[in-house]
């Protein structure tokens, strides 16, 4: 990995991207980002946040209403063909020709590039060798998605753009794709992916931008973002409702919990109270005391590691996947 060159090369950069459809719908409202060479950068956000519009503008498939995109310092109007040689793309949904087999499909895509990779090597790498004579129409969802990534990799790209690469896949296929992406990265490739899976973002991405309503609401490494939430742990509990009718409203209740030791923030989801906590071993005894003191009963208590989901909920008050 060429990490020695201290200010790392910026492969993809955009400033103040905006996209308005039909003069009405503002899908992207001022997104700026920079992706360093060799990085895996993730756009994390719920459906409809503007991730796909953003990535398609970066890929040169959509023209932004305003703002600028640079890839290796070049804009899409500079030299589109050369930029296309350098990037590999997997769209959110492409149904490749069903009557071609896997090898024919890869060879077809390889033929578009000036200096493509060897098709057999790519098949091998994506564990599609066994399926090379199978018609695309007969592949499973995971195999189809691997083939879609293979068509992106066969051009020997420097940047890989993946739009929701694992949506709808089973856990095993997802892990397989993660491995493929890591291998590409290890060879020095840069990756930009969109996802609404927080675990994917957390495990795969070196850097993340959380996108909501067409804007980046937070950016950093996954651990940065969780750190910023103010605690690596979440304590969730429910208490019996006996005294909830007293003069203290809901808000006071939350303040009540926030005053517990080591608690960084509090939020309520239905009847569950979620505490972001730095050191659970300090918080929990105090929490138990407080409950007993109020004359209430603890109905449920659990602790877990904080996740990006918590970050998202903290920032927006909503969950990533509300369906």
């Amino acid at each position: 990995m060429p990490s020695v060159s201290s200010p790392r090369e910026i492969t993809v950069a955009c400033t103040d991207l905006r996209k308005t459809y039909d003069g009405k719908v503002e899908a992207v409202r001022g997104i700026s980002l920079q992706i360093e060479a060799g990085q895996c950068f993730g756009l994390l956000g719920p459906n409809g946040a503007g991730k796909t519009t953003t990535i398609e503008i970066l890929e040169g498939l959509l023209a932004p209403t305003s703002g600028e995109v640079r890839i290796f310092g070049h804009t899409w109007s500079d030299n589109p063909r050369q930029l296309r040689e350098w990037i590999g793309i997997s769209l959110q949904e492409t149904r490749l020709s069903e009557k071609l087999n896997v090898r024919e499909t890869i060879e077809l895509f390889a033929s578009f590039y000036g200096e493509p990779r060897n098709a057999d090597e790519v098949l091998e790498e994506l564990e599609l060798t066994e399926k090379s004579d199978a018609w695309v129409g007969k592949l499973s969802g995971g195999q189809k998605q691997r083939l879609a990534v293979a068509t992106a990799l066969v051009g020997n790209p420097r940047i890989l753009f993946l739009d929701e690469p694992t949506t709808g896949l089973d856990p095993q296929s997802r892990r397989q794709l993660w491995d493929i992406i890591r291998v590409f990265q290890k060879k020095g490739g840069t990756v930009l992916l969109t996802t609404h899976y927080m675990d994917e973002a957390e495990r795969l991405c070196d850097r993340l931008a959380i996108v909501d309503h067409g804007q980046i609401i937070a950016e950093g490494t996954p651990s940065d973002l969780i750190e910023r939430l103010g605690g690596h742990h979440v304590v969730e509990f429910q208490v019996s409702d006996q005294v909830s009718n007293n003069a203290n409203g809901d808000k006071d209740n939350l303040d009540h919990w926030r005053s517990l030791p080591s608690v960084e923030s509090v939020r309520r989801e239905d009847s569950t109270v979620c505490l972001s906590v730095r050191e659970p071993h300090l918080t929990i005894p105090a929490l138990l005391n407080a409950v007993t003191h109020d004359g209430r009963q603890l109905e449920h208590l659990s602790t877990r590691q904080a996740s990006l989901e918590d970050v998202f909920v903290q920032l927006t008050g909503r969950h990533l996947r509300e369906d």
Binding site: N79, Q82, I89, T94, L108, Y113
Partner: protein
């Protein structure tokens, strides 16, 4: 997308980057050739395509060819109404000396009772019904709207008159000549060929494109360095490859099964030239039809809308001369009419290519204008 690699400035991203993998170098036409090859094997693997493009026209030609072959126009079918003079009439008609004046013609006469004879006449089984009256005169039942009925009235009248001893005032002789193309099948096969070129062009280009657009495959292709012009060129070339097969199959079928005569090799070449232009023209019209449609359903409707009038007006199954004279110039300006006319003249009459300039021009204008408009409006994603 006509960037040339030679002019590509050496971009800074090339610095300090070792290729991670062994690569091969593709030639300029590698993308085009792969696209063409992919298109052809895809078609080959689509059983519906094979049926509609190759089997269906053959079935149509076979069915229509057989239906219109068994009743040659020069046999006269006559019903004699049974009466006292019926047998004598029959004998007179049979005594006609070999129809020496017009060799091919034969009279097939049958004696039937009145009801059966008239019924057979009304249903078209007989061209004419004859009633011999008691006074030795004859009454002909004929239908002035049926050409063969009118002909047979004249023929039977002449036969009876001469059998009764009428002397011809003049001596006439006829030279029979059976021009190729006199039969219905000779008319039909070039029409089917034209129709087939239209069908496969419209569906093969229009439908295929919209399907690829709906699958986001077009968008995926333009996300690569593929040249858009290569893609369209490959689509058109695949039509030409298919066209050669379509022509060979239909003409071969006509020649082998219906003993159709094609006027020499020079005319075969002309047919290929005309059919190529036809295939490309309808490819262009198909491209225009499909240039913006997002859904297969909408393009199917459009394709049918374009093709339906041409099936009817452009002389596929019957001559468009049957439409009013006022409509003729408009019909002749339609691409399928021009294609069918050019194919018929070449296949049946062996007309030289130079005599078809006007019709080829009609095709070229349709194809060219469609192509230009399609490229202007084309939607890749």
């Amino acid at each position: 997308m006509a960037t040339t690699e030679t002019n590509t400035p050496k971009l800074d991203a090339d610095k300090n980057r070792q290729p991670a993998y062994a690569v091969r170098r593709n030639s300029r036409w590698s993308g085009y050739l792969h696209l063409l090859w992919a298109r052809i094997i895809e078609l080959k693997r689509e059983p519906e395509v094979v049926f509609w493009i190759f089997v269906f026209p053959i079935l149509l030609a076979a069915g229509l060819g057989i239906a219109f072959r068994d009743k040659p126009a020069d046999v006269t079918w006559v019903a004699i109404i049974d009466s006292a003079g019926a047998q004598k009439t029959l004998a007179m008609l049979q005594s006609v000396p070999g129809n020496s004046s017009n060799k091919g013609s034969t009279i097939r006469a049958t004696v039937l009772d009145r009801a059966a004879a008239l019924k057979g006449f009304h249903f078209g089984k007989y061209d004419l019904a004859i009633d011999s009256n008691a006074d030795g005169s004859y009454t002909f039942y004929y239908d002035p709207a049926r050409p063969e009925s009118v002909l047979s009235r004249a023929e039977i009248d002449a036969a009876l008159q001469s059998a009764a001893g009428r002397k011809d005032a003049l001596t006439t002789s006829s030279q029979s000549s059976s021009e190729p193309g006199s039969r219905y099948i000779d008319f039909l096969i070039p029409g089917l060929l034209g129709m087939n070129l239209m069908n496969s062009g419209m569906w093969g280009v229009g439908f295929a494109l919209v399907e690829m657009r709906q699958r986001k495959l077009l968008k995926r292709f333009v996300a690569t360095p593929m040249r858009k012009s290569d893609f369209l060129l490959a689509l058109m070339s695949s039509r030409l490859v298919l066209m050669v097969l379509e022509v060979a199959l239909l003409l071969g079928f006509g020649v082998l099964v219906f003993h159709m005569r094609v006027q020499g090799w020079r005319s075969m070449f002309s047919v290929l030239v005309i059919a190529s232009l036809g295939a490309v023209t309808f490819g262009g019209v198909g491209l225009l039809t499909a240039c913006r449609a997002q859904k297969i359903e909408s393009v199917s409707g459009l394709i049918n809308l374009v093709m339906m009038p041409m099936w009817i007006f452009c002389g596929v199954f019957f001559s468009y001369q049957k439409f009013p004279a006022m409509a003729q110039p408009f019909i002749k300006a339609l691409p399928l009419a021009a294609l069918n006319d050019a194919l018929r003249s070449t296949i049946i009459e062996g007309a030289p290519l130079s005599s078809q300039t006007g019709r080829l021009l009609v095709l070229a204008v349709w194809g060219g204008v469609s192509f230009i408009l399609a490229l202007r409006w084309f939607r890749w994603n």
